[in-house]
């Protein structure tokens, strides 16, 4: 299967290359240079936030679950971090840990509702998101807390033209790839996503696998929250609302070739998906594309890309289904 996943991934990096090439040409015709240091920096900067969210999202989606609460979780985490640090450099570690812990707990809540209460992940995480929103709006009347300048570096400093946050994101991505490939829990995520009943009957601890995925997803959102805090210098709640971060993340994951139905895909692809979105953002900006046109283009491109992948998977499994009983568990499943 590694081989199979590899060539799918390869295709996605091809797509990325294509986007970069076309973007580069377009910008060049427009009289600019997409590969100027400034633009490269910009591109990478735009990867980190969506990146963190998409990494976590990949795990839950692989398990045939979903997390629509990541935006709110990130906002909550940024609040916790900022208010805990409260401008005191000595409390940075404490604040960061607190944020990750809270985010992890939110993930755990999601996981528990999905796997133990058997609520469809779409609804479960949508609900949890609303609960967090309610809490934040009631508890904080706006941005709160203060992030010490030392920690703001996480959001602003860069090595050569690669921002630190992006490096952290890539490091976590590498860790994620390793986790999925080399640990049992990671490996079992594919099984759980493939068919939860078969996985269970084969002795896989499906519930705890699902929990792990959700907890990790929450913690990734926590990291995203830390990034927000670092870049804002404070914790912000309103941030998450207007911009549907969760949808960005899901789009990145699917662009990365991971099946929304679970069981197939991986983090390497997701990184490419994130990059594609980032490149588009930069290109649009450099070319001064009208803000509304951006949405149209983004939407169209996402659909087209996924359609191309689908074509391929189609031709692959064109044979009659031999997999009667190893189908999908519609109850635990999600469209």
């Amino acid at each position: 299967m590694s081989l199979r996943r590899l060539d799918t991934t390869a295709l996605i990096y091809l797509a990325l290359a294509g986007v970069v090439a076309i973007g580069g040409i377009a910008v060049a015709i427009d009289g600019g240079n997409l590969f100027s240091t400034a633009n490269l920096v910009d591109m990478f900067t735009r990867t980190s936030l969506t990146g963190f969210l998409a990494l976590g999202m990949t795990l839950v989606i692989l398990c045939r679950s979903l997390d629509l609460s990541v935006g709110y979780t990130a906002a909550l985490a940024s609040m916790v971090a900022a208010t805990t640090m409260d401008g005191d450099p000595n409390r940075i570690v404490l604040g960061a840990l607190a944020a990750l812990l809270v985010a992890g707990l939110v993930g755990a809540a999601n996981g528990a509702i999905v796997s133990f209460l058997g609520v469809n992940p779409f609804i479960a995480t949508l609900g949890v998101g609303l609960i967090i929103k309610g809490y934040l709006d009631t508890e904080y009347k706006g941005p709160a807390g203060l992030v010490p300048t030392a920690f703001q570096q996480f959001g602003y400093s860069r090595i050569a033209f690669v921002p630190v946050s992006t490096l952290v994101m890539l490091a976590l991505a590498a860790a994620g790839i390793w986790f999925l490939r080399s640990t049992r829990t990671g490996h079992h995520m594919y099984a759980v996503g493939g068919n939860i009943d078969v996985a269970r009957m084969s002795g896989v601890r499906t519930k705890s696998t699902l929990m792990t995925a959700h907890i990790l997803c929450g913690m990734f959102a926590g990291v995203a929250g830390l990034l927000l805090a670092a870049r804002f210098g404070t914790g912000s709640a309103t941030e998450a609302y207007s911009n549907l971060y969760e949808l960005d993340a899901i789009a990145a994951v699917v662009l990365g070739g991971t099946l929304l139905l679970g069981g197939r895909g991986g983090i390497a692809g997701t990184v490419a998906g994130v990059l594609i979105l980032a490149v588009l953002d930069t290109v649009f900006n450099v070319m001064q594309i009208n803000p509304f046109a951006k949405d149209v283009l983004r939407g169209a491109i996402i659909i087209t890309a996924v359609a191309i992948y689908a074509r391929r998977q189609l031709s692959r499994t064109a044979r009659r289904p031999r997999f009667a009983a190893a189908g999908t568990a519609a109850d635990t499943g999600r469209p």
């Binding site: 910009d42 735009r46 912000s236």
Partner: protein, 377 residues
């Protein structure tokens, strides 16, 4: 009915904390005072007027020759007020480009995403193309570090509309502000309603300072009035939501006054009264045309508080002034006067062929693009 009193109380409690969070006595008093100060400069060009300006020298930023590249990081154009302003700004830019003051005008739109706007600002700085950088921050607190970074880069920075928690910008342009807006509206209700009358407050969303200030000021004034505040509801500015909420309040009892922290969907609120067969309330909206036209048409008692939309002209002008080394006010406080019954006809006439969701005090009448640029958006 009796069960309303406790309700009213609970909501007051619930919002009481807001007060501490958002209410700064000094700023409040300053803004209320500024309303009565005669601004310096020519009243026919309010966007160049300034209240108690403290002029600062900008010679250090002077660049010879014209055709300067001006960059603009916009928070978003996600609501009609910003759309109107954005058009005005572009029209102003064209004039300055004609005049050879501005060469290229680069802009980026963050679609209300603070994170994106930070990246946008960074991108402008890194590109090294900008002679001046205009910023309309999406959120005060969160954009502060980015703006500071921009200042450090050495190019002149002009901040307008919402502020940031730093005065590193060469100039910060804004109308008097949220407290004044909220106070104008609240005072109007207090003056035009009998003691004991009931008022419903309709708000867009929580946590945005410009809006929170309006509500904070209103509460301050309602607090020592005889008016009963039925509640304050978040509507997201969605007309349907507004109409639902108002309708439901009307089912439970009389509503004599409506206070809004922004004009979006004001008409829907009025229609709720019509459909419920209730007398029109005393109402404050904004200088958005559909509201003003409805106001005219119904002849209701109303006020259009103004958050001066013409401020969108000022930043580009300020940028050229700075790049020419001319003095600009450190904090450029623009006039902000509500539109009263008396001025209603005048403003409706001036904006006769403007579309609804256009803002009366957009201040672009003298620009060459007028009226097509605004009418045909």
């Amino acid at each position: 009915t009796t069960d309303e009193i406790p309700e009213a109380e609970t909501t007051e409690e619930a919002t009481a904390s807001t007060e501490e969070e958002w209410f700064v006595q000094a700023d409040y008093e300053e803004q209320l005072a500024q309303r009565d100060i005669e601004p310096e400069g020519d009243p026919t060009t309010p966007w160049l007027q300034a209240i108690e300006p403290e002029w600062v020298d900008t010679s250090e930023y002077a660049v010879d020759g014209g055709d300067h590249t001006v960059c603009f990081s916009n928070a978003s154009v996600s609501n009609p007020w910003r759309v109107t302003g954005w058009i005005t700004m572009q029209q102003q830019v064209e004039v300055l480009q004609e005049a050879g003051e501005i060469g290229e005008f680069l802009h980026s739109d963050a679609a209300d995403d603070d994170e994106k706007q930070i990246s946008d600002i960074q991108a402008f700085i890194d590109s090294g193309e900008c002679d001046a950088l205009l910023i309309s921050p999406s959120t005060t607190a969160t954009l502060t570090p980015a703006v500071e970074a921009a200042c450090e880069s050495g190019i002149p920075v002009v901040v307008f509309d919402r502020g940031v928690n730093t005065d590193c910008a060469v100039t910060f342009i804004h109308p008097i502000g949220g407290y004044a807006f909220g106070a104008d509206a609240a005072e109007f209700l207090v003056d035009n309603l009998e003691p004991g009358s009931t008022v419903l407050a309709l708000r867009i969303l929580p946590g945005v300072d410009v809006l929170e200030h309006r509500w904070a000021a209103a509460q301050e004034i309602f607090a020592d009035s005889e008016l009963e505040i039925l509640g304050n509801e978040f509507t997201g500015g969605d007309a349907a939501e507004i109409k639902n909420i108002v309708t439901q309040y009307l089912q439970r009892g009389e509503v004599d006054g409506i206070w809004m922290d922004a004009g979006d969907g004001a008409v829907a609120a009025i229609e709720a009264f019509e459909d419920a067969g209730q007398p029109y309330p005393v109402m404050t909206g904004e200088d958005e045309l559909s509201f003003m036209r409805k106001w005219k048409e119904t002849g209701m008692t109303a006020l259009a508080p103004v958050y001066s939309n013409f401020q969108w002209r000022t930043p580009v002008l300020a940028a050229t002034m700075i790049l020419n080394g001319e003095q600009v006010p450190k904090e450029w406080v623009l006039p902000q006067e509500p539109i009263t019954e008396a001025e209603l006809d005048d403003y409706l006439e001036r904006n006769e062929d403007m579309p609804s969701l256009h803002y009366a005090k957009f201040g672009g009448e003298d620009l060459p693009g007028f009226p097509d640029a605004w009418r045909d958006r």
